[in-house]
């Protein structure tokens, strides 16, 4: 049974997308919800199966590697799958009323989003480097149209820019795969790692694949496309892009460096990649501090938050730091997923009610949007890593790893990033507390939110706080199938 669950988590959303595409959204709304709930159940089941029975393997169609495609779920995959499913369910529930309220039926949104969900699951489950290439391309091909959905000048330009950069990134990745295959004769993620030592061609392959993925994940200095693309997409799409799609790229970076190229992970290499992450943390946060619109703030915060994930690479080679840093980074990925999705959906509520997301508009909206603002505030608290959020646990573990290994520099980056995040968060939250300026007349009272839109962001954000209760089981799940050094 558990073997079937792996392909199911890919095919259920894909089939749902097909059905929706064929019979039309208006008649298929129930199918969408059913598909989303089934995917959620399957993903949670995979997590349960991995937690109980260790890593799960499935050969598609019974074909074994090298010709067949292997699906593989270890603790990391299972956690990413479950997080994606929870965020995905939230986005799905939210998107229906949001799109209806904005006056379109989501004819274009639903198939794209469901295929994207399937692709994300495929990315987390593939153990085959070429299959991962296919997934990456599919991610681009679903993310770019979602970013362009608004159809106006900024979003079309953003989507175009994203598409070109992402295609370039895919090609770099594919070139790396080709080199690695030429050297080792295998496309299997772990086997290639066992066969490839620290030779020149592996180094080139690693560099190409990493650079390609950086373009897809908007790592500094390839970050320019992210802010316009994510902030101009419709809110549910922004949530999926920021919380899941960009992170899938970085997931793969970490997967490659820990499973395939650990031999190459020298101190200078760690410093180089970690340094890029540190620059992203500071740069993204400072930019977020200067944006006039809520979604722009949240989008820049994504650039910063993704940077934290790269801080793993300089720390993971140090035995004193490895386990804590690894645990911290994965918790960060999960907490950021929940908090970021919640924040974008909350911003969507603001747009829904007020028609815009300029920060000044937050003045005096508390009575109408109190649940939304609570979700937004809680999301920001997790993003800045303050207790009692999951972001805090992640920050604690990263810091503990850094300090245990005497790496005060990386510890400082984590702390500084948290402080600047607090600055941009409270800049937003202070406006929500500010009194309405004198002489301000309300032109029309804001629209009432449908319940699903009101509560979905809060539910997602609260998941990041639930991590305080579930930290131990989550990390035990993560240890399933983890490489030697980080267990």
């Amino acid at each position: 049974m558990s073997g079937v669950a792996l392909p199911l988590s890919f095919f259920v959303p894909l089939l749902t997308a097909l059905v929706v595409f064929v019979i039309g959204v208006r008649r298929a709304y129930g199918v969408i919800l059913l598909g989303a709930l089934t995917t959620l159940a399957v993903a949670l089941y995979v997590a349960y199966a991995v937690a109980v029975g260790g890593p799960q393997v499935h050969y598609l169609g019974g074909w074994e590697p090298p010709l067949g495609v292997e699906l593989y779920a270890d603790g990391l995959s299972a956690l990413m799958l479950a997080m994606t499913a929870l965020v995905g369910a939230g986005v799905t529930l939210y998107a229906g009323p949001y799109l209806r309220g904005k006056g379109h039926d989501g004819e274009r949104f639903w198939p794209l989003w469901l295929v994207q969900w399937a692709t994300l699951n495929g990315t987390f489950l593939s153990a085959d480097l070429f299959n991962l290439y296919v997934m990456l391309e599919l991610l681009t091909l679903t993310a770019a149209p979602l970013a362009a959905m608004a159809g106006d000048r900024p979003s079309l330009a953003a989507a175009m820019r994203y598409l070109l950069l992402a295609l370039l990134g895919s090609m770099a990745y594919l070139l790396g795969v080709a080199l690695l295959y030429g050297g080792t004769g295998t496309l299997h993620l772990r086997e290639a790692g066992e066969l490839a030592g620290a030779e020149p061609y592996t180094a080139v392959a690693a560099a190409l694949m990493t650079a390609g993925l950086f373009a897809k994940a908007a790592v500094f200095p390839l970050h320019i496309w992210l802010m316009p693309a994510h902030s101009n997409a419709p809110a549910p799409a922004s949530a999926a892009l920021s919380a899941l799609v960009a992170k899938a790229g970085l997931y793969l970076v970490l997967r490659l460096w820990l499973w395939t190229f650990p031999a190459l992970l020298s101190a200078p290499m760690g410093w180089l990649i970690g340094g890029l992450g540190a620059v992203a943390v500071v740069y993204g946060s400072v930019q977020a501090l200067r944006q006039p619109r809520l979604k722009q703030v949240i989008a820049y915060s994504t650039i910063a938050q993704l940077g934290y994930l790269l801080l793993l690479l300089p720390l993971v080679a140090l035995p004193a730091a490895a386990v804590s840093a690894w645990h911290g980074v994965v918790l960060h990925a999960l907490a950021h997923g929940f908090a970021k999705a919640g924040a974008f959906l909350a911003a969507g509520n603001m747009i829904y009610c007020l028609g815009h997301d300029r920060l000044e508009g937050l003045r005096g909206v508390t009575p109408y949007l109190s649940v939304t603002l609570l979700a937004l505030g809680l999301a920001f608290v997790s993003l800045m890593g303050l207790p009692p959020s999951g972001g805090f646990l992640a920050k604690w573990l990263l810091l503990e790893g850094a300090l245990a290994a005497g790496q005060w520099f990386w510890g400082g980056v984590v702390l500084l990033g948290g402080l600047i995040a607090a600055a941009y968060s409270f800049r937003v939250l202070a406006l929500a507390h500010a009194e309405v300026p004198h002489g301000y007349a309300e032109i029309r009272s804001p629209r009432r939110l449908p319940p699903a839109m009101e509560w979905a962001p809060l539910a997602l954000v609260l998941l990041a706080y639930g991590m305080l209760l579930g930290g131990v089981p989550i990390l035990e799940l993560l240890d399933q199938g983890a490489p030697e050094g980080v267990r």
């Binding site: 109190s370 604690w396 300090l403 245990a404 500010a434 009194e435 930290g471 990390l475």
Partner: protein, 501 residues
């Protein structure tokens, strides 16, 4: 769940009492005033009863412990010892009193659901700080307190409030970073270690092996809590935060924020490092000097203030450092003085802020020179103010005298005679900035043409809390020899920290 298990989890129930109150109040719509008041008082009373139950248990020699593993090697630990109860009981009592006051004070302002929700959350955080059994738990609630108080500081939403909020955050979050660094460094070096009376043994071993690191870590942690304890030069946020509504000021100054900082100093010096290690590392003497400077600086600045609340704020800066001074001095007598002042300063300062809020609310009085002749007009509230002010000066039999007495004895015990000079000078300064206020209230004639404002009905509920805390401050001094007076309880703590050989 058996009754025993329910009893064992008392700390959790008491914590949840305020968390649930906060959630319920957030969920109530703004105009549901009666329901909100009911829940407020209900939550506060339930909590007080639960704390009293624990107090009873601890007196019978029972100890409570709630453990939850949050991460591998990191636990959330709530323990109830005598020291924890001292602070928990203080906050539970004063929360109830302040709630009554705040309900009356904010009757007509907007956004009350948000205000009272965060108000309850703030007390939950304070309670968590009191019961924290290790550094992780302490930090968790310490930062939660920052988050829960910020909405109260910016509550009014005008530009001055927002600016005060920014200053408040800059200081407290900066302090939080220092504290986090220190706390995580301890965790990285020693693992998950619980507080232990007289110092964690592993910490003193570490301090011997790595004196430099241990000093740095200890200094970082103390700087972190020093921000909330308003030690010079980290005190600037406190007077600025005065723009908040009066009940918030009362809460910030007497119960929650400042006390959390002072309590943190006690925990870190006594139960993490231990007084001897703190002495040998050279951290305690520096802290004594800083506390002495803060005591004098706060008093001098208070002299120059013309605004009543600002004068009280600088007085807080000065008075809270008595606690720090007592703990940093080391030795049982000084610790006793510091601990007992934790309670006494709370009672006296909250009285003064209640009175200041009362004057402002009923007569629009903010500046000290507007107080002329108000005493005969409003005798009850002015009497409460007088008790608080005389206590702050240290006049017997009000509670403040007891604190100063033991602090002085402690300074002599440690051979730091110069501190007696500081205490005397500070007392003179206290007198210099409080006595003129009392003179204006009672002696000077009322200026002609003061508008006659009929006191509102609600203002009675502004009066009773002030009378209650003033009476408590008086009784704490009169009944100091009693077993469960603040002094008696502090003695119990000191016996644990310095067990008789």
């Amino acid at each position: 769940m058996s009754l025993d298990a329910v009893h064992e989890l008392l700390p959790l129930w008491a914590l949840l009492a305020s968390v649930i109150t906060a959630v319920v109040i957030f969920a109530l719509r703004d105009h549901r005033q009666r329901q909100r008041t009911f829940w407020n008082l209900f939550g506060a009373s339930v909590k007080l009863v639960l704390v009293l139950l624990m107090l009873h248990g601890v007196m019978l020699g029972h100890s409570y412990e709630v453990v939850y593993p949050v991460l591998p090697g990191v636990t959330l630990l709530l323990t109830v010892d005598a020291l924890a109860l001292l602070f928990a009981f203080l906050s539970a009592v004063l929360w109830l009193v302040t709630t009554v006051y705040a309900v009356a004070y904010l009757e007509h302002s907007g956004q009350r659901a948000r205000f009272f929700g965060f108000f309850s959350l703030c007390v939950a955080a304070t309670f968590g700080i009191a019961l924290a059994g290790n550094l992780f738990t302490f930090f968790l609630f310490y930062e939660l307190l920052t988050l829960a108080t910020w909405p109260l500081v910016v509550h009014r939403g005008h530009p001055a409030a927002l600016a005060a909020g920014r200053t408040y955050l800059a200081y407290t979050l900066g302090g939080g970073v220092a504290l986090l660094t220190g706390v995580v460094a301890v965790q990285a070096a020693l693992g998950d270690v619980a507080f232990s009376a007289g110092g964690i043994p592993a910490f003193s071993d570490w301090a011997e092996a790595e004196p430099f690191q241990a000093t740095a870590v200890l200094a970082l942690m103390l700087a972190g809590v020093g921000v909330k304890a308003a030690l010079v030069p980290l005190h600037r946020w406190l007077p600025v935060a005065m723009v908040a509504p009066a009940p918030v000021s009362a809460l910030l100054h007497a119960v929650a924020v400042v006390k959390a900082g002072a309590f943190g100093v006690v925990r870190i010096l006594q139960d993490v490092a231990g007084p001897e290690v703190a002495q040998t590392l050279g951290v305690a003497p520096v802290l004594v000097a800083l506390a002495a400077v803060t005591i004098l600086y706060g008093s001098v600045r208070a002299l120059a203030q013309t605004d009543l609340k600002r004068r009280l704020a600088f007085s807080t800066v000065s008075q809270v450092s008595y606690i720090t001074l007592g703990v940093a001095l080391g030795g049982p007598l000084a610790l006793l003085g510091g601990l007992v002042h934790l309670v006494h300063q709370g009672l006296m300062k909250i009285t003064l802020f209640f009175c200041a809020g009362y004057y402002a609310e009923t007569r629009g009085i903010h500046r000290i020179d507007e107080l002329d002749g108000i005493g005969p007009r409003m005798p009850w509230i002015s009497a409460a103010f007088t008790v608080g002010a005389l206590g702050m000066i240290g006049l017997p039999p009000v509670a403040g005298f007891i604190s100063k007495w033991y602090l002085g004895l402690g300074a002599l015990e440690q051979g730091q005679t110069w501190l007696l000079g500081v205490l005397v000078l500070s007392t003179l300064l206290n007198a210099a900035y409080f006595l003129p206020v009392l003179r204006r209230i009672w002696m000077l004639p009322e200026p002609a043409g003061r508008p006659e404002v009929p006191p509102e009905r609600a203002s009675r509920w502004l009066l009773y809390p002030a009378l209650f805390t003033a009476a408590a401050a008086l009784l704490a001094g009169l009944l100091a020899a009693w077993d469960v007076s603040p002094l008696g309880w502090a003695q119990r703590i000191v016996e644990q920290e310095y067990p008789a050989p």
